[in-house]
Amino acid sequence: MISAQVLALIDNAFLSLVGSAIPASTVVLLAATGAMLGERVGVLNLGQEGLIGVGAVYAVIAVLSWGITSPWLALLIGMAAAALAGLIFAVAVVVFRANQVLVGLALALGGVGLSNQLGTNRNGTPIQNTFQEVSLGGSFEDGSVLEAFLFHDPIVYLAYIAMPVALWFLLFRTRHGMNMRAVGENPAAADAVGVSVMRSRLGYTVLGAALSGAGGAYMVLSFTPTWSPDIARGRGWVALAVVIFAGWRPGWVVAGALLYGSMISLDTTAQARGWELPFFGPSDLSFFLSMLPYVVTLIAILIPAGAAKIGRRVRATAAPGALAIPYWREER
């Protein structure tokens, strides 16, 4: 028999986990969506780690050095900076048809280095102009179910609700979206029916980079309002894994990001609540828990791979056919 007390404890802990997992996942969600957008039109952008850094550092610079007081404007500046970095990448891989993997890695390393350089002298300085939580439905009691889900800042709502719905509609319910997918699956066919492969690839790669930059800006404007070197700390790479886990579908990207975020939150929540695991002392537990998000990410990307192996939903979860392949009109 489970006592009401135990139920209350589980309930309470679950809420605490959800309440912190949602904001913790937002960065990965935005970056993964940005990466997915590029990959849908056949451009693999491995530079997410760098784009998050660039977006974050320019949002920090906007607030601390340019006197921008509106977090919205700072967010836009971070997005614009990341979009510019994305444009350089896109021109290299789409116009000059450079190897996407190599240029992507360069963007990842270069973006991290650039943002660390620009962030010098801004380390640890608190940012006061942050996004404030707004309620999506009246006022709640502290620690209620509704509060865990419906009391976050506006970026969270945009990232979790507006963005996936809009992208799902765009990709799967409009002719433009069908053209986009065609560019990613078979650019020659899309080209033959008059879709501009280059314009589509350039545009969505840059837009995707802006979304990844928004993830970085969100980190410093809401999640943890301060700059620190290597700010993405692997979140960009996790975002790329989430895209694979999600099978390039916007709704599943949300699920993948939340899974990762829950593991991140579990690390601190489990310790703060004094949860105990067999075989681990309290001080070893911290090391195990900080490893968990990456282990779970690894397991999660095996799921679609496994599904493909046993022949189920292969088409739905397969990568775009022309992913990472440069398009030459002359070639067949």
Binding site: N123, G124, T125, F223, T224, A272
Partner: protein, 403 residues
């Protein structure tokens, strides 16, 4: 004496300027140019008695002011775990470096390397610094074996390690004894945390962390017998994102006072927003106070670093540098800072009284009988543990959880 790693060995009589020689990394430390003509390509300033020859007697223009073989200029390097502008731990050390630089002027050449973590490249860095001709290398965290392997092979270069537990003739460990400020802050927390629950964000389960949580708990229990300390370890000293998550998790679980060893004050900003009292480990920085303008309680001062660094550099200059006996450590005081604006007067008075009692020797932080948080008795009634004993501690007092 040439170094093992050097690729170029100068003949003893080669006429090379000291600067050039150092640039080439060809000579060991401390060769003293005499008369500006002949370079004695052998170090001889150390007190470790490993050098077989000493510098030629200084009799000309470059005459040393002291009798002991010394240097006319010390090259010292600081290796930092974080960035020197973190508004916390590393910045406090860098201010210490600047204090030494200003005090010794032309006699000291300083530089630093920031953001050095714990991996094999760290060892390479220390080797590089030795090869670059540094006489003295400071580490602002415990690099342990990553540093000592280099120290072992280069006995003429001196190392000073923060919170170190490695003893060689050329490694000097020092420690900021902080169980006392933690105890004093704990008294304040015991009064100010309405429900007696104190949150602590730590990095790794080391003596530093145990002295934090134990001091806090024992101080708090001295005024509130039901006080507890709840710990979250984040396996890093500088990661504002992780620190923020830990802060949120602790605040969600209901702590009424939040303290942390993080190198930057993000967690305090979160505590302020939640309306919870908070304190800071790493020095008295305006940004820490600004992060929690109404809820700031106090921080630990790190002002002893400057004089300590100056003294270490001066000893190398004078040729009197020496390490301590194995198991011993240099203790630096880090007193509690000035209070935040909203700390009640009775708390301030009580803490001042406790400080006086500690200074006079009446009161000891670790006073038996004490049990650890697994139920074993660690100190019997009448037993006490001093700061040097606390430096080696590896257990948390009963009432502390999560570590």
């Amino acid at each position: 004496m040439t170094q093992k790693s050097s690729k170029l060995i100068l003949p003893r009589t080669a006429a090379v300027s000291r600067r050039e020689a150092l640039k080439m990394g060809a000579v060991g430390i401390g060769g003293l140019a005499v008369g500006g003509s002949v370079l004695a390509a052998c170090g001889g300033d150390d007190s470790g008695s490993t050098a077989t020859t000493t510098a030629a007697p200084a009799t000309t223009a470059a005459a040393a002011t002291t009798a002991a073989p010394g240097l006319d200029k010390v090259k010292a390097h600081w290796v930092y775990i974080g960035p020197p502008d973190d508004n916390g731990w590393t910045e406090a050390h860098d201010i210490g470096r600047q204090v030494a630089q200003n005090a010794l002027g032309d006699q000291l050449e300083t530089a630093y390397t920031p953001n050095i973590g714990f991996d094999a490249s760290t060892t390479q860095l220390f080797q590089q610094l030795v090869d670059d001709g540094n006489h003295l290398i400071f580490a602002n965290t415990e690099y342990a074996g990553l540093m000592s392997v280099v120290a072992e092979e280069n006995p003429d270069t001196f190392f000073v390690e923060t919170n170190g537990h490695t003893w060689l003739d050329n490694i000097l460990p020092f420690y900021l004894a902080h169980e006392i400020p933690a105890y004093l802050l704990g008294i304040a927390a015991g009064h100010m945390a309405a429900n007696g629950r104190i949150g602590y964000i730590g990095a790794f389960p080391t003596a530093t962390a145990y002295n934090d949580v134990n001091g806090l708990l024992l101080g708090a229990r001295s005024v509130n017998p039901d006080a507890v300390v709840e710990t979250v370890l984040v396996s890093t000293f500088f990661d504002p994102q992780k620190a923020a998550q830990a802060a949120n998790a602790l605040l969600d679980s209901g702590v009424d006072f939040l303290f942390g060893v993080m190198d930057e004050p993000t967690f305090m900003q979160i505590s302020e927003e939640a309306g919870i009292w908070t304190g800071y480990w790493n020095g008295d920085f305006a940004s820490a106070r600004n992060a929690a303008p109404t809820k700031f309680v106090a921080s630990f001062e790190l002002t002893e670093l400057g004089p300590f660094y100056t003294e270490q550099c001066r000893r190398v200059l004078n040729g009197t540098w020496a390490s301590v006996a194995e198991g011993d450590v240099i203790l630096l005081d880090n007193p509690l800072s000035d209070w935040g604006p909203n700390v009640p007067q009775h708390v301030k008075d009580e803490v001042a009284a406790a400080r006086a009692a500690i200074d006079s020797g009446e009161l000891s932080v670790y006073q038996g009988p004490l049990n650890d948080n697994e139920g074993n008795q660690r100190l019997a009634a009448g037993e006490a543990l001093d700061s040097k004993g606390g430096y080696a501690i590896d257990w948390a007092v009963e009432g502390v959880s999560g570590i």
